[in-house]
């Protein structure tokens, strides 16, 4: 065994994140580490890389026990990592970010030439053609992710830990990454892969450890012995069965709740026309960077609309800010980036959900806590958010529950038109299914939903119609027949078959 972590225990204030987790890695293998949101995967990885110190258990590399007091110790021991969150220094160049933990130096000064050469070599491993001197603040999310991977590869590590490395990568980029993962495995390295995308996991991993509530329920078993369903059952902890989403029927004659006609924006959107009816889900598909979130934000008045018309319930409107969208037109927007834009992590759940309804609840400018709690608990129950009390801090919730909180706030505001942006990124299988059910229910209840997603199966499962966007313009619209194979082909063809795409050199769009 190359790396052994046994009976790890880690407690955060109020949460026992790890409760006797064990991970055994063999050289020359790709090891999948799976589990629901909050199962403790990232915590385990952080312990293995010296970010957290375990409260109990031991970590050994080969025969020697490791006592790491910081990330540097892990690097010295030959453990490389790509964390779930992005961790680049914004003002620094790509090269410096890649080599920050062991800057080549001469007389205490940074040796720039060597740094650049070294960085180029690492980028080359990923076939990335980026200028090592460019500042990372210019990179797209996907590029930044790739740079982090290059950074992990810069140490010649025996063990490489990847925590959801493909969450913001396109299919092509992910494939390239997995190519390298296989190469590393063949060279005798051990790679740990954390991912919620089970298809990818099954395609690349050899062995698997499944965490549930901080305990390992499967320890270093060969993956070949399992089906995807069995793995999911393990993660969830009980038999897992299919249910059907009820068929929904939308009368095509219903007047659209939201209609865009030839909308152009200051951001560069060109002639976007689409419409959503009450009770309908319009899927808006595109690759990362296609401009969908930007379109949603322009609709809410956060970016300038330069021409075209936006109609809400048949009346042309001009929305200046989110408050107006919410109170004037009952439009809500569930953001794609819940940690930065969706939630107030250091505030209570009650405040997080209540923020949209205070205006309604306030008497003489004062909001009674009781009235707020009443509203909050209604939506907490309705969405099945698992919280210990409404005064728990939002930051203490697991990813899925956080996502539900950011949805709850818009339901509480009684929105009729809801834009949902990447609702299930980084969310485990079970929660994802629950979310899908929820979204379908909302549509059933008569909401008009615009579902932005880069997850093709998700779109095909949920949407009634699918609009495909690329490079800030609409490529076409399809009626969804829920046949995954056919729909996905049609969509991909729309994206790539489109003629006039100016060459921009964007890696992620390639």
């Amino acid at each position: 065994m190359m790396l052994n972590a046994e009976n790890l225990v880690k407690t955060f204030p109020g949460v026992r994140a790890l409760d006797g987790a064990t991970l055994r890695l063999a050289a020359g293998s790709v090891h999948a580490l799976l589990g629901e949101n909050g199962a403790g995967k990232s915590t385990l990885i952080k312990i293995l890389t010296g970010v957290h110190r375990p409260d109990g258990g031991r970590v050994a590399l080969g025969d020697t026990e490791l006592h790491m007091s910081g990330p540097l110790d892990a690097q010295r021991a030959g453990i490389g990592v790509v964390h779930q969150e992005r961790n680049l220094i914004p003002g620094f160049s790509i090269a410096e970010n890649i080599l920050l933990h062991h800057l080549p130096r001469r007389f205490g000064l940074v040796d720039r030439t060597q740094m650049r050469a070294e960085a180029r070599r690492c980028l080359g491993l990923l076939d990335l053609d980026l200028d090592p001197d460019a500042p990372v603040s210019r990179l797209s999310v996907a590029q930044a992710q790739l740079v982090e991977i290059a950074k992990a590869l810069s140490v010649d590590s025996k063990v490489l830990l990847l925590d959801e490395p493909t969450a913001s990568l396109t299919g092509g980029e992910a494939d390239r990454l997995y190519g390298i993962v296989r190469k590393l495995r063949d060279n005798g390295h051990a790679v740990v892969l954390v991912s919620h995308k089970l298809e990818e996991v099954f395609a690349v991993a050899d062995t698997v450890t499944v965490l549930r509530d901080g305990r390992s329920v499967a320890e270093a078993e060969p993956l070949a012995g399992y089906t995807q369903d069995q793995i999911v059952d393990l993660m969830v902890g009980r038999a897992y069965s299919s249910v059907h989403l009820a068929e929904r029927h939308v009368d095509p004659a219903t007047a659209p709740a939201l209609r865009l006609d030839k909308v152009c924006t200051a951001r560069g959107h060109r002639d976007i026309s689409l419409s959503v009816r009450p009770g309908e889900i319009l899927g808006l598909y595109g690759l990362v960077g296609a401009g969908r979130s930007e379109l949603a934000k322009a609709l809410l008045g956060l970016d300038r609309i330069t021409s075209g018309t936006v109609e809400v319930r048949g009346r042309p409107v001009r929305i200046r800010d989110v408050g107006e969208a919410l109170r004037g037109h009952r439009i809500g927007y569930v953001t794609e980036n819940r940690k930065e834009e969706g939630l107030f992590l250091d505030q209570t759940i009650a405040r997080n959900v209540g923020v949209t309804v205070w205006r309604r609840l306030a008497k003489a400018g004062l909001v009674a806590d009781r009235a707020e709690r009443r509203v909050v608990s209604r939506y907490v129950d309705r969405l099945g958010i698992r919280i210990s009390s409404p005064s728990q801090l939002a930051g203490q919730l697991s990813g899925g529950n956080q996502q539900k909180v950011s949805l709850a706030k818009w339901l509480a505001a009684e929105c009729e038109i809801l834009i949902v942006d990447e609702p299930t990124v980084g969310i485990d299988v079970r929660t994802k299914a629950a979310f899908h059910e929820l979204i379908a229910e909302l549509a059933e209840a008569g909401l008009a939903l615009l579902l932005i997603s880069s997850d093709l199966p998700e779109i095909v499962t949920l949407a009634d119609r699918i609009a495909v966007m690329n490079d800030f313009s609409l490529r076409g619209e399809l009626v969804n027949d829920h046949d995954y194979a056919r729909m996905s082909q049609a969509i991909i063809r729309l994206i790539h078959g489109a003629p006039s795409r100016p060459p921009t050199g964007d890696e992620e769009a390639a």
Partner: protein, 332 residues
């Protein structure tokens, strides 16, 4: 937004760390040059006379060094409110060592630098050990240092210490006062430190993103202690310059340094959030503020108007920066 290669490779020292562009320094340089020319013309060339230039540059040294002293802590996203009082304390200690301690000037200088460094390190250690915001810690230590500064000699003035040191303070080298040359050398060293030294880069990493820095093996605690220590050391340098250039010191020294210490880096384009420094910008900003000073003497303006003007200039510079940023964003 332009893609591909960026300006990081452009510009020499100083401009380099701005990362995004060297333009803020450029604007400042143009402003400084224009201001200087206008003032020279307006005073019928008096500004260019030997005496005036000498006074202009001699009293530019301390603002530069004190601005750098603040900048070093701003680099890690903190503030040091004790710089002014500390400069005063170091100056008093240096004078005390020479006059009461009977030490030769070089030893007294070392003493002052040592006191500055030690006080800075204490600041840093307090921040690290107590986890209290640096702003608050230095607020408290400022009070303590004020007490110590007064304790050295009460309200009385030290005068008549080492002739050599005072001569150094008033001689010129190639037309520039030695003290300014010293300040510029210090500035160049600070620029080198942040631009090329591994430790300096680590400080900036801590300022830019503490968590990411930690994951890359940078000890943020160490960065904090180093930054505060360096800030204290620079306050010590400012004190030495003061002792040399002014010929007399008392416990009021440093009282007027706190605001300028912020003004120079902030006008110079240093972000309070940390992770960005600009040595050139800081020096140019100090130059600009000094121009305003001189303007006051030349035209007999009520000093209170100067406060008003400096306040307006800082606001204006800041607004200009924002406008420029917006424009450059729009144009790309």
């Amino acid at each position: 937004m332009s893609t591909g290669t960026t300006t990081a490779g452009r510009a020499g020292l100083g401009g380099r760390f701005k990362g995004v562009s060297a333009r803020p320094e450029f604007t400042l340089a143009v402003l400084a040059a224009a201001g200087f020319v206008v003032l020279a013309v307006a005073t019928d060339g008096n500004l260019l006379s030997r005496g005036t230039l000498d006074a202009f540059f001699r009293f530019l040294a301390v603002p530069i060094v004190i601005g750098l002293s603040q900048m070093v802590v701003l680099a890690i996203g903190q503030m040091n409110l004790s710089v002014g009082a500390l400069t005063g304390l170091c100056a008093m200690v240096a004078a005390w060592l020479m006059l009461e301690g009977g030490l030769p000037a070089p030893l007294a200088i070392l003493g002052a630098l040592g006191v500055g460094l030690a006080a800075g390190l204490v600041n840093g250690l307090l921040v690290v050990l107590t986890r209290i915001n640096g702003f608050i810690v230095t607020l408290a230590t400022m009070t303590i240092i004020e007490g110590l500064r007064y304790g050295v000699n009460g309200p009385d003035t030290f005068q008549g210490y080492s002739q050599g040191l005072r001569d150094l303070g008033s001689t010129s080298l190639l037309g520039l006062p030695v003290v300014l040359v010293l300040a510029l050398v210090v500035a160049a060293m600070v620029a080198l430190f942040f631009g090329r030294a591994v430790v300096g880069r680590q400080l900036l990493a801590t300022g830019g993103s503490p968590f990411a820095a930690r994951l890359s093996g940078v000890s943020n605690d160490r960065s904090i202690v180093i930054a505060h220590g360096l800030s204290g050391l620079l306050a010590g340098v400012a004190a030495v310059i003061t002792v040399a250039a002014s010929g007399s010191v008392n416990s009021s020294i440093g009282d007027d340094l706190l605001l300028p210490s912020f003004a120079a880096p902030i006008i110079g384009g240093v972000a309070l959030a940390g992770g960005v420094v600009s040595v050139v910008g800081t020096c140019l900003a100090a130059f600009l503020v000094r121009l305003v000073d001189v303007m006051q003497a030349q035209f007999d303006i009520n000093p209170r108007w100067i406060d008003l003007i400096v306040g307006a200039v800082v606001l204006g510079a800041v607004l200009l920066g924002t406008v420029r940023q917006k424009l450059s964003k729009r144009s790309s």
